[in-house]
Amino acid sequence: MTPDAQTQPVVDGVFADDPARLLGARCELCEQTSFPRLDGCPYCGSETITPVELSDHGALWGWTTVLHAPPGYLGSVPYGFGIVELPEGVRVVTRLAVPEDWWSFGQPMHLGTAEVGVDPDGVVLTTWEFSP
């Protein structure tokens, strides 16, 4: 999906699209990868972190289906929701592209982006999601 004047990411600095990548950080001290990117390492407190783009694939670690729109949500229900573990060793809370219950633990997943909904100004907001 190519952003235009009518399309915007739901948040800046958390993911890139085209190609879709999550924007994380790697700590030079404890070597853990973190997501989203903060201005320090949430695992050891070091301020010496390097911005990295995370892998665009991982393994499914948890999943469910959201049936009722949570507060503030701009999209439609039902939608898939879960955790994907990336090769860097970081687990990411994420939308899942298919709200079905045929997932299995550890199955390969790939990153993409999707339109989530339209904000009050008529702008189409995009977010990241994982698909099988």
Partner: protein, 385 residues
């Protein structure tokens, strides 16, 4: 029972405003009712004003000066009044601060109370950033569902086991006039309620609701005969813990990271000089049915993976070896956030005083209360008599 020469702290008064839905009552009125009852129970009357030297009020959503409004209505002000927020553990945090101040010799008598008037349905938590809400990542029950799914996968549990927790707690709630739900249920009936988020069905989740609870603590004497507060501990999550309690942050492998409930329990056991095997009765956080089963192992009440056997044995039921959530738990009472931890304490003091009526755990001498919530605060309280 303590291992050190600490200043003893007694629970000399308890009070409760029932948990439920009360359209025509303000949160202040519920707080007033609970505090009045606790003061009366403690023998503090209007000739003894204020009757305590500090007050701690646990609440998450009652707005500024919430505790002051309650004490202002009761004409018991002037002393320090501190409103405390620690999510589901708010009341536990207030209790910890009060007990510490008494042990420090700062005060003789301290009032602790908690109250909440939650909106209906899913809590719109101020925890999440707006973009997470927009994107659908602020789906609170989905986090509970993921935690439940993980526990089921790692401990060989099924939805039927989750339903059994609800059946157990609701069978206790029948005996509790202060509970919101006072009716029995069955595994089939629980599984027949609608799915909120796989694997959690509606009746496996507690309802956010309304209520208040209050406790009066006093520096103990050797022979007061009162219930004793042995430990009141609060801990937070360690860096890196993922889904410890619905954290929306990504995280790393947490298999070597001790959860906050265990940190709090270990510290409380050490402070009280006891181990989990000494505990006769437990109130533990059952935001959802799986959360209770996770709590059992985090608190050292069972070996990880032994939950199914214990459920089958009836050991955790009233009449069993060690009843868990004799009050009916949050699954029967509902969860008024700031009040829930102190509601547990009120229940356990009744159990230790042998005034719990039809739900009395006979011979209970050692009791443990546990809450854990947003921000991954966990509180563990140990009481003896």
């Amino acid at each position: 029972m303590s291992t050190t020469n600490r200043v003893p702290v007694d629970v000399i008064g308890i009070g409760l405003h029932p948990f439920g839905r009360f359209e025509d009552r303000t949160v202040t009125e519920m707080g007033v009712a609970a505090v009045r009852a606790a003061l009366h129970d403690a023998g503090i009357d209007s000739s003894d004003r204020p009757g305590f030297q500090a007050a701690f009020c646990g609440t998450a959503y009652s707005g500024v000066a919430a505790g002051h409004k309650v004490l202002g209505a009761l004409a018991r002000t002037g002393m320090p009044i501190v409103d405390v927020e620690a999510g589901c553990a708010s009341g536990g945090a207030a209790l910890m601060l009060a007990a510490s101040a008494i042990r420090a010799g700062q005060y003789d008598t301290v009032l602790v109370f908690g109250m909440e008037k939650m909106p209906r349905g899913i809590i719109r938590s101020s925890f999440f950033e707006p973009w997470r809400e927009h994107a659908g990542l602020a789906a609170t029950p989905a986090y509970f569902a993921l935690r439940a799914q993980r526990l089921m996968r790692e401990r060989g549990l099924t939805k039927e086991h989750l339903a059994q927790v609800v059946v157990k707690n609701r069978s206790h709630g029948v005996l509790n006039p202060d509970a919101m739900y006072q009716s029995e249920t069955s595994v089939d009936a629980v599984l027949a309620t609608r799915v909120v988020c796989e694997p959690l069905h509606l009746h496996m989740l507690c309802s956010p609701n309304e209520g208040a609870a209050a406790v009066v603590l006093r520096r103990g004497t050797g022979s007061s005969g009162a219930v004793r507060l042995e430990a009141a501990v609060l801990r937070s999550h360690l860096p890196g813990s993922v889904l410890g309690e619905a954290t929306p942050l990504a995280g790393i492998d947490d298999s070597d990271i001790t959860p906050p409930s265990t940190l709090a329990a270990d510290a409380a056991y050490a402070e009280a000089g006891i181990g989990p095997e000494d505990v006769d009765v437990v109130e533990c956080q059952d935001t959802d049915a799986a959360r209770e089963l996770l709590g059992w192992e985090e608190l050292g009440l069972c070996v990880p993976g032994d939950q199914a056997r214990i459920l089958a044995s009836g050991d955790a039921n009233l009449g069993g070896a060690r009843p868990i959530n004799p009050s009916g738990g949050l699954l029967s009472k509902g969860e008024p956030l700031g009040a829930s931890a102190l509601g547990q304490v009120v229940e356990l003091v009744r159990q230790l005083r042998s005034t719990a009526g039809a739900r009395q755990v006979h011979g209970a001498r050692v009791a443990l209360a546990h809450t854990v919530g947003r921000g991954a605060n966990a509180s563990v309280t140990i009481l003896t008599h």
